[in-house]
């Protein structure tokens, strides 16, 4: 715990973020370049789905990313509400828009893939519905931050909303096992993966690329949030002096 607290000091965080930012951007770009090359050029086309299978290389990592970002958000909210740590509150706030975009991307690419494969853009089955609920949860979470003026109050209320919504995460994960879903079951399990390495390796590179993209954007927008907070405080002080 002591170690985490060391990095949670805002000034120290800003210094560290400045140091790693360029590296993170570079790693993200390289991972995306390699991942996209392998998934769009090198990976074989599916014998049934043809070239459409390549949508999956964008879709699956986006869906993984969207749930991961929510987990980060819920964890930050829990830390914020238990230890009253200001950086944790801001971390949850900064994660939400990124997660919402990932969720939208997963839904959108899924619809594009669904049209030629399932013959429809959208079906109301368990996996798709629970994922749509995830999107609504992100929107509600962001709306709370918008609606409440007082920062500390907004942080507490938003954390409650995020934690209640976290119930949805296991539902998304297990929706394909619990219900007869049109969506294919998970390809990753404790026993390993059910897809061939020529598909799996580009997929994992893409997943890593998405993770680094999130890390880069998250730290960057955390920095922006800290600055915004500081500006607000300075404005308040200036207003008091007048």
């Amino acid at each position: 715990m002591a170690k985490i607290e060391k990095f949670a000091n805002p000034t120290r965080f800003l210094r560290l973020q400045e140091k790693v930012q360029l590296w993170l951007v570079a790693i993200t770009v390289i991972l995306f370049a390699v991942g996209l090359y392998y998934s769009l050029v090198k990976a074989p086309a599916d014998y049934q789905q043809g070239e459409t299978v390549r949508i999956m290389f964008v879709h699956v990592p986006a869906a993984w990313g969207a749930t991961m970002v929510y987990a980060v958000m819920a964890l930050s909210s829990a830390i914020g509400i238990i230890f009253r740590h200001p950086l944790a509150d801001l971390s949850a706030k900064a994660a939400a828009p990124i997660g919402a975009v990932f969720t939208f991307l997963a839904l959108f690419t899924g619809a594009l893939w669904g049209k030629p494969m399932w013959g429809t853009y959208w079906v109301w089955d368990a996996r798709l519905t629970s994922f749509f609920v995830l999107f609504l949860l992100y929107l509600g979470y962001m709306a709370i931050w918008q609606a409440i003026d007082d920062h500390h109050r907004a942080a507490r209320i938003a954390a409650i909303v995020a934690l209640v919504g976290a119930i949805n995460l296991p539902i998304i994960k297990f929706s394909v096992d619990w219900w007869n879903s049109l969506h294919q079951p998970s390809i990753m399990s404790m026993k390993g993966s059910s897809v061939h390495s020529s598909i799996l390796i580009p997929l994992l590179i893409m997943a890593l690329a998405y993770s680094f993209l999130f890390l880069t954007l998250h730290l960057l927008s955390l920095r922006a949030e800290l600055r915004k907070h500081k500006i607000r405080q300075l404005q308040m002080q200036a207003a008091k002096r007048v």
Binding site: I81, T129, V133, L136, L137, L139, G140, A143, I144, A147, I148, R153, R156, I157, I160, V161, L163, V164, G165, I167, N168, I171
Partner: protein
Amino acid sequence: MKSFMALLKRDLVLAWRQGGGVGTAVGFFLTVIVLLPLGIGPDQSLLQRIAPGGLWIALLLSVLLSADRIYQADYDDGSLEVLTMGAMPLEIVAAVKSLSHWLTSGLPLAIIAPLLGFLLNLDTSLVFPIMGAMMLGSIGLSFLASLGAAVTVGLRRGGLLVSLLVLPLYVPVMIFGISASSGGLSGPDVSSAAMGILSGITLVILVVAPFGSGAALRTYMR
């Protein structure tokens, strides 16, 4: 326990005497049920098929309609602050408020729903499954509504936000509520299993929602 009953009695009396409490919910419910066949067209077999779903959607909307008023009046006139000072923890206060919301919206609606179902050509064998599933499910709906109301109590225009926050959480109740209501149509095993899951979901909500509401109210009382 004494203060629990006292608060419950106060809320029920207020809801009854202020007028508009039970009446608005029932009236709104009736309006939706009447508008539904007008929008869809008077095809009897189609209406029969969508009757359970229509009733559930009307129930959801009616419960949501009165949601933002669960704490609003008490917050505005300061009674909520008095309750904060009292011996009863805010979590229990939230549970009492949710319970009285259920008694004045969910329960009466669940009782009259099958009656209005005849307007939708509801299959008579479904009357009791629907009533049971709605009574059980609407407890969960009321407790979730109270969570949404508590989270937005200090905001001036919280009403819209309540729907955005609460509707995603209504999804599981709605899904299993409907499959429990469809009775023998999709096989007796399916509907009794759905009834079991619906009870489970309601129990989880009963435990989680008061704590969330209590924490949110405490934040606003500070």
